[in-house]
Symmetry: C2
Subunit: 416 residues, 2 copies
């Protein structure tokens, strides 16, 4: 049952910033950039319109089936439920995969907070599934430089947050034999820097102004930054993994607000002798306050963090999760809940793995037999279990393990 809700917050908050930018992507009333997500007149995001505007493609049932067939696994709930709903060149990537041609995954995070919130986890959970299902290498970029350039953070604080966030990312269960995590302030240089310069030479200021809404008031680091997020899409940015190979395809799982970066990257690719990167793109994860709210790492009440206690989780869900239920029990029993705006229901669609139980809740709650309190209790149970599991996994991530994931090292067993 695909969630129909439209939300205001990116999943992969790799590159949020001041939000002051208003770029060209989206219709006059709907603005989607890596830093700003604003719905249309009704506050909702029209994802169909977005797919058309961005020029990407929807993921349909046959594509989901194809992934199941190729991997021999049931599709991840995010795929089945249309949370990852759009793509670029995914069929071409799968064609190549069927022919035995290699690909790797690339995703990332802009480290702006001490701990991740649940929205941040979504792309990593899905990426882990993709890595396990396809048995492919993965690179994860921590854009500490980007957070430094956009926010008031010091270099030192950005680097510290990158390392803290890395622990949360590793706790998602990635395979160290096939995963390279890097922070820009450490890794920029050498082959990676040379690809950054190659991309920069392809991209005039006018183009980043058009794509991202940069102005001449912006600092020159911001203006040059898109090339730094683009470079990991080219395999020879990672000579310790892929040598100088250019025939390794790249698939990027991300929220759709990151699409502008990779449209730019795809434009450059053929000019630099590279294959165009493929994308698999998600909807936004809603704030507790609902689709018109803004989930922010700096607003504790808008999000559940992976460091929250069971008590905090219960309290936040009960207090803030926007309800689509009736104003009174009588009205609710009569008309049922409006699932389109109910945040607890939306979140269950992300995190309740049991399809049958999810369908049952949808049916019972939508028809008014189940009350908001019951659904919130169900959500609290799911989230608490998930967060406690994450905390235990994170506690096991030592500094040595972080170093192992972040080491620039030969990686002889990337595939198979």
């Amino acid at each position: 049952m695909p969630p129909k809700h439209h939300c205001r917050r990116r999943l992969r908050s790799s590159h949020p910033c001041c939000g002051a930018h208003q770029a060209a992507a989206g219709c006059p009333s709907q603005v989607i950039t890596p830093w700003d997500v604003t719905g249309g007149a009704d506050g909702k995001i029209d994802y169909n319109k977005l797919v058309a505007q961005f020029g990407c493609q929807s993921i349909d049932a046959s594509l989901v089936e194809r992934i199941e067939r190729l991997t021999g696994r049931p599709a991840h709930p995010f795929l089945k439920r249309g949370i990852f709903f759009a793509h670029r060149d995914l069929n071409e990537l799968l064609d190549a995969y069927e022919r035995g041609q290699p690909f790797y995954l690339y995703t990332g995070r802009g480290p702006s907070s001490e701990a991740l919130h649940l929205g941040h986890l979504v792309p990593f959970m899905f990426t882990k599934w993709l890595q396990d299902a396809f048995r492919v290498p993965l690179v994860i970029q921590l854009t500490d430089d980007e957070k430094f350039l956009w926010r008031g953070l010091s270099v030192e604080e950005s680097r510290r947050l990158a390392r803290e966030n890395c622990k949360d990312i590793i706790a998602c269960g990635f395979d160290v034999a096939r995963t390279f995590v890097f922070a820009d302030f450490e890794y920029v240089g050498g082959a990676f820097y040379r690809n950054i310069a190659r991309i920069q030479r392809c991209v005039p200021m006018n183009q980043v102004r058009g794509i991202f809404g940069f102005s001449t008031d912006d600092n020159i680091g911001k203006i040059a930054f898109p090339a730094i997020q683009a470079a990991p899409a080219f395999p020879d940015s990672f000579p310790h993994m892929f040598g100088e190979r250019k025939d390794v395809r790249c698939l990027i799982p991300c929220a759709i607000d990151q699409d502008p970066y990779f449209r730019m990257t795809r434009d450059c690719a053929p000019r630099l002798g590279h294959l165009k990167t493929a994308l698999i793109e998600s909807r936004f994860f809603p704030a507790l306050q609902g689709e018109s709210g803004k989930m922010s790492a700096s607003d504790q009440s808008s999000a559940i963090f992976v460091s929250d206690t069971p008590k905090q989780i219960r309290s936040k869900v009960n207090k803030y999760a926007f309800s689509g239920g009736g104003d009174t029990v009588e009205e609710h029993r009569e008309k049922g809940a409006n699932l389109d705006v109910d945040v607890s229901w939306k979140w269950l669609n992300f995190f309740l793995e049991d399809d049958a139980r999810l369908a049952q809740i949808g049916e019972e709650y939508g028809s008014g037999r189940m009350l908001t309190g019951d659904v919130k209790a169900e959500l609290v149970g799911v989230l608490t279990e998930m967060v406690e599991r994450h905390k235990a996994a994170r506690a096991a991530v030592t500094d040595e393990i972080v170093d192992a994931f972040m080491a620039v090292r030969p990686m002889p067993n990337l595939w198979g």
Copy 2:
């Protein structure tokens, strides 16, 4: 005897480009940027006006004497003859030096040609003298990334030229125990990259537009590049040399067209907790064709290269060196040569070390007793000796020696 000639070519051609930029520095008719040097209405550069416009200071006799006193050496001819004629904060740097506070030298080159020409050698010859006289460390930046961004070169070709140019630079006689040569495509990263980002955050696009004349048609690499040339002015960009010290001052010998980069750098310095870099700046080295000509590494006839044969040197000087002599021998004997426009005389001012002989030539040639042919023969002798000496020194520069200068290594004996 300071040369009065005004020339159209920078000495330190670290960052020449397409020449399409017209920036704000200089009066309406006199435009001086790192990429474009255009004289006033009469084709001449008014250096006094330039000093006033840029806001730097002239080097006077007392400053030259102070350098002689502090180093215990006679001043280099470039200093005595006013070729290095302007500075920023040189007195403050010398005050600190007298108090026993350390400084280092920073210069560079944009590797755009196979071999250096004599104009390229000028800042390196002077920098070597400074290094020997003050016994201080030196960093030399090879901006292969800049040449890549501005020109049609490939990354590989830019890197190759950087290494070739490095051999010519080493041949100038630098002390490997105190000299670190680096090429951006290799060295950008780590502490150096973190300083680049710090500088970029200080500098809005509007500022580089004002300083360098960049437009929104320029690629984003060019727009961000000034921070890469600025970063070596901060000592903690070189942790293998200076650790995390911020109290090591920096002195940059360069041609005055590079001043815009370092005005920008000096603006950023206090905001980043750094000392403002000091500068010692030279006039431009004239092309063979004279002050209205353009010496270019891509125009063989405009310059003498360190790879030229004695025959080529003789031929070029005789054929192209603009003469200020009379049209006929009779006229010359009567009126004398116009030293203000005579290129052979100008070049002798750069490279003939013997003050007495130089004064004699000026006297004899200016009064018409010496003919242009005699002066050219004298110049050919000086240049041939200099180029042959350079060739022999360069032939001794093995790949191992290049590696030694370019190694990121502990350098325990930087001073003394």
